[in-house]
Symmetry: C2
Subunit: 412 residues, 2 copies
């Protein structure tokens, strides 16, 4: 029954010309080094299925392009010449990553291989969240970050995460309720403001956080992942067969707006009883007797109360746990993930209500889908969207290393 | 901004050996002919991006393998030799498709290119739904179907749809509540009973119906599709980037068990307030004053009443519409599909409540995700799972034509 797992693909058919094979194989090697770190030729043979001589030639091309360096490894004591070790060159090849959150802005330079070379985050008052001010701040931060990098550095791409719905076909922000943005051509405007020819790609912050989790975080290597991120609002990122589900226009994953209580509280989206009205920061704080607008300080106080066994805090967390479990159970039934990662507020709350959440999932998810699902808190915490933005910006060079470098240098 | 749509793939890296290119290109041509019908060499050049001489050689190999025939087309009046037209040979290359529903069994022989050559469906009383009786019935039906086929026919695969949760890694049925099956190694047992060496692949019937809709039905060519099928129970099939989402073990798409009313009616799955408790056949019938177990006849009577303007029927449909819209809105927010296809009872009901359902979706889905979503009833109706099962069984030969034929002939 060896065909049982054959995926029934519906992707558009297209032929493979033999000249594209070399380019695909260069990409394979570079991805391997970027995702899994330095590797000897023998390791690359084992991991890619390519022949040793093919690996030698391909790595040689990546070295010539200054993407990869090769060093003779110290002898491991076995006879014969040690296999040379190839490694990405992070200080020469970077992406710039930007995270547009509600109360802060982050910018980082991330080197090939995923090393964060420099990063800066600024808190910002509510009056700085307008589009123009945001762009001004990013331009200034990018300037500072770039000034501190090696002179020979190449910027391979700029990735941006925004706390809002992003249209991935044109890098515009459709709506970002917590920023008050509506139909903003953010990618284009930022690119012009930066005065750079390199592509700016924009995506939803929760989608990027999910990407970071499967590449560099707790879900590394997992192929079916449900990432749920919650603070004031609740968003999500869905990974299926190792790839993000973006939907028709990049809006997939808005799990915070699944109706779980259709006659419940009004939601900022205009509906009622969305999941985020039950598990978002506002609901949690209100149930503990605090102002729903108390923000992070109020959450800290609530969790401190819970640590001290204060009943109001424990009760609020119990209700939070029930609704968290209800929504997760539905999503587990829809997606059959192998891992659920909780980020932001939800990742902080989860350790307090672990048993209650799992019990609610047990009660409501189909046993077959439930079996084998691991629920964990994110380990990357607040930096996940920025790390994901860097990965997004690396994509072109990882998909076609030499072609992308050619394109970048032509534009200069 | 040409890279904006670069998918950020996380798929495992693996090198392309040049000897696999030929096999991939054979698959490309065969898929093209299977999905889109006969094509001239010029059309194949345009559709696949391969060169004319490569197409000639590849089609030649498929002809030699008896998968494809080539005929000179009648001259179209333009100068020069007309381009020969390649077509799949359905009568020589078939899959057997089986549909295990609650009150009926279907078997069909489907030829390459998607032509249904023979099919048979039998109604069955409740006492025939046990596993052994089901297998006996299928074996008898397959015998009759095969006896009527051309003597030179090759069976390339056997695909089975089951109204239950199927573990696609081993073709077993985890649970099929409406059949009373639990952990049945159905694929293995059916394969043994048929005494055939060809692979038997099993999948969930709603997943297969979704597959049929995107390949041969109302969603042909759509790449982001949400298929929701409802009768007594409610299931679904999710298509993203043109491919079905199966989840970690094949259980994805159980949209009927998303909690939409957590304090609502008990569900057969053990939870409460699942979507199927609000939109399934039982709830609809009960709200119209009928027995929830009235079955298809009672639904027919209800819809006849609605046609006649009977208030109880219209009221029941209005409530159905509201809950249908609530659940769909949540799924639109999660998946951002370009098309929603409603099958079974839901496909029959939808024309009656079209406006109400869309209004509820408008109220609850995020405008960005909602924009551009088309909601339609299935056109394939009851045969969708069987057509999808045939497609599933064609997969191995479409993925590797000559390799799969070799495997099949070796086993004989």
């Amino acid at each position: 029954m060896s065909t049982a797992r054959t995926p029934f693909t519906l992707a558009p058919v297209s032929g493979v010309r033999s000249e594209t094979v070399r380019s695909a194989n260069l990409a394979t090697i570079l991805r391997e080094l970027h995702f899994h770190g330095p590797a000897s030729r023998s390791e690359l043979v084992a991991r890619t299925g390519l022949t040793r001589s093919a690996i030698g030639a391909l790595v040689g091309e990546l070295v010539k392009a200054d993407l990869v360096s090769e060093q003779r490894a110290a002898s491991d004591g076995s006879p014969g010449r040690p296999s040379p070790v190839a490694a990405p060159i992070p200080e020469r090849n970077v992406t710039l990553a930007v995270d547009v959150a509600v109360d802060s802005l982050g910018v980082a330079a991330v080197g090939l291989g995923g090393v964060v070379l420099r990063s800066e985050r600024i808190d910002r008052p509510r009056e700085r969240v307008a589009v123009d001010a945001t762009i001004d701040d990013i331009v200034a931060m990018v300037g500072r970050i770039e000034a501190a990098l090696d002179p020979g550095v190449r910027v391979l791409g700029i990735g941006v995460g925004v706390v809002g719905l992003v249209n991935r076909t044109d890098n515009s922000v459709s709506i970002a309720p917590n920023l008050g943005w509506h139909d903003v051509a953010f990618g284009d405007r930022l690119q012009r403001a930066l005065g750079r020819k390199v592509d700016v790609v924009v995506s939803n912050d929760a989608d990027l956080a999910a990407l970071a989790e499967v590449r560099r975080g707790v879900a590394t290597g997992a192929r079916e992942v449900l990432y749920v991120w919650g603070e004031v609002g609740v968003g999500g990122g869905l990974i299926s067969r190792g790839e993000p589900i973006t939907g028709a226009a990049g809006f997939a994953g808005e799990v915070g707006h699944v109706p779980v209580n259709p006659d419940g509280r009004p939601c900022r989206c205009g509906s009622t009883g969305c999941w985020e009205t039950e598990i978002g920061e506002g609901a949690l704080l209100e149930r503990s007797g605090r102002s729903p607008d108390g923000g992070r300080d109020a959450v800290d106080a609530l969790l401190a109360d819970a640590d001290a066994g204060v009943p109001a805090a424990l009760d609020a967390l119990a209700v939070e746990a029930r609704w968290l479990g209800i929504g997760l159970a539905g999503l587990v039934n829809v997606m059959n993930p192998s891992m659920v990662v909780l980020g932001g507020l939800l990742g902080r709350v989860f350790p307090y209500v672990h048993d209650e959440v799992l019990a609610e999932i047990d009660r409501r998810a189909l046993a077959s889908a439930r079996r084998g699902v691991v629920v964990v808190s994110s380990a990357l915490a607040g930096d996940a969207p920025m790390l994901g933005a860097a990965e997004l910006a690396f994509e072109p060079v990882l998909a076609d290393p030499l072609g992308t470098l050619r394109k970048i240098s032509t534009r200069r």
